[in-house]
Symmetry: C2
Subunit: 259 residues, 2 copies
């Protein structure tokens, strides 16, 4: 913990995060238990959030209000990438009829910042803000491949590679080999390492300095796309889309915060 640390802000944010899919509505005491605060403290934070419009209550149960999206939206609106990328994703999807997404790297995860879905092929829904482990996703692979060597070393040392399916690459040596290949070919394909049946192919989006700062991908299901057809049919339009997004981002880069 830093010296200059406002404990009340940290506690208040933990109260926001206490609401999730499993517990969308909570009593004051539930929140206190979940955040390990006293009931009096939880009450103060909840009442403050209600006053600010971020939380609603019927007098007993508390739940988040749509206004809390404003906080995440601040990030998206501060970043030109989603807005620039979305029309290109729309065009790509109209061409190949598979879901397309853009993500950035944050710690050990990729975080989705733009998406045009077609038909659902995963067990879980992907939305803006969804996070997956970088090591077993196609977009994560191109982003990791673009890290400077010291940052990649730090990543591998700091993050054990979790196994999600029998195919997940979990050894740092094997992953380095995969990333070498990604660097050589300029794109990544991941086959059922995140979820059984899920195939995806990704390309990097680079800034002016040539650093991969985001990734764009297409995802499909193993039942309708062979590895060969993905490379033949999906890769060319994907690479073209990445290039177009880059060109647009460079054209606007005098006013952007680029990841």
């Amino acid at each position: 913990m830093a010296e200059e640390y406002v404990q009340s802000l940290a506690r208040g944010l933990a109260v926001i995060r206490a609401f999730d899919a499993a517990t969308p509505e909570l009593t004051l005491s539930d929140v206190a238990r979940k955040t390990e605060l006293t009931r009096a403290a939880a009450r103060r934070f909840l009442l403050t959030l209600v006053d600010l419009g971020y939380v609603r209550t019927d007098g007993r149960l508390f739940s988040l209000s749509p206004r809390v999206l404003e906080l995440g939206y601040a990030y998206l609106s501060s970043l030109s990438l989603p807005e620039v990328a979305l029309p290109h994703l729309e065009r790509l999807v109209a061409e190949v009829h598979e879901s397309a997404s853009v993500s950035v790297l944050d710690d050990a995860d990729v975080v989705y910042v733009a998406r045009v879905p077609t038909t659902r092929i995963m067990r879980v829904t992907i939305a803006i803000g969804t996070r997956f482990p970088a090591h077993c996703t196609s977009m994560g692979r191109v982003l990791l491949a673009g890290l400077p060597p010291d940052e990649l070393d730090a990543f591998l040392e700091g993050h054990p590679l979790e196994r999600l399916t029998p195919r997940t690459v979990t050894s740092p040596v094997a992953l380095r080999g995969e990333l070498d290949r990604v660097r050589a070919q300029g794109w990544a394909m991941v086959d059922q390492e995140l979820e059984e049946g899920l195939r995806s192919i990704a390309a990097p989006i680079r800034n002016r300095a040539g650093r991969a700062v985001a990734a764009v991908n297409l995802s499909s299901h193993a039942s309708r796309t062979t590895l060969e057809s993905a490379r033949r049919d999906l890769l060319p339009p994907l690479l073209a889309t990445a290039a177009r997004i880059e060109a647009d981002l460079h054209a606007t880069s005098s006013r952007e915060a680029m990841p």
Copy 2:
């Protein structure tokens, strides 16, 4: 301001909101100015947010980190509607080839909580969390039409109706007339009241008690859709989709926080 109010939480959240499209990166002093805090206070909040991973800094400029999406994501993941609705939107878009969205009412705005875009037809990009004034949007119309009379009275008294285009309905009497029509026909069409050229058609999504708690819409451009063809070609699949979303929500309503 309520008695039980944690000023530090409110201030910290204002710091998050200080970052936007116009100012994605800010110095400590910029943040202080923008939030009307002292530099010392702004510094403490920024350092706290950096420590929590929500803000990044190069030592001079601060910017939001993707992790801040987690705060908005808490709302989306706490609400079953987006997850239930998205597959239905995907199917609807595959059928009619126009962008489809779901939103909820929050104060005087509709807030987008799910979306499948096709081709962009508006000047601004719509993302999850985007807010538009309810009175001049098709989804806002069906949601306002579903308010109890006392709540609709309060809305009209508390919110002057802003004019966005020459066609925007800005008189409370005229809007009441529109809402009467919406109630009678069960859907709403809005023609270039939000933005020139934008046509959209919306249907309500109701909870078990019959209250319109969300809305689903299709949007198109005046250059490619007549009012007549929108009603003939888009309305039937839209209404069918609303019914399907409702059915699915009712099936899961034992575990949901429904708006």
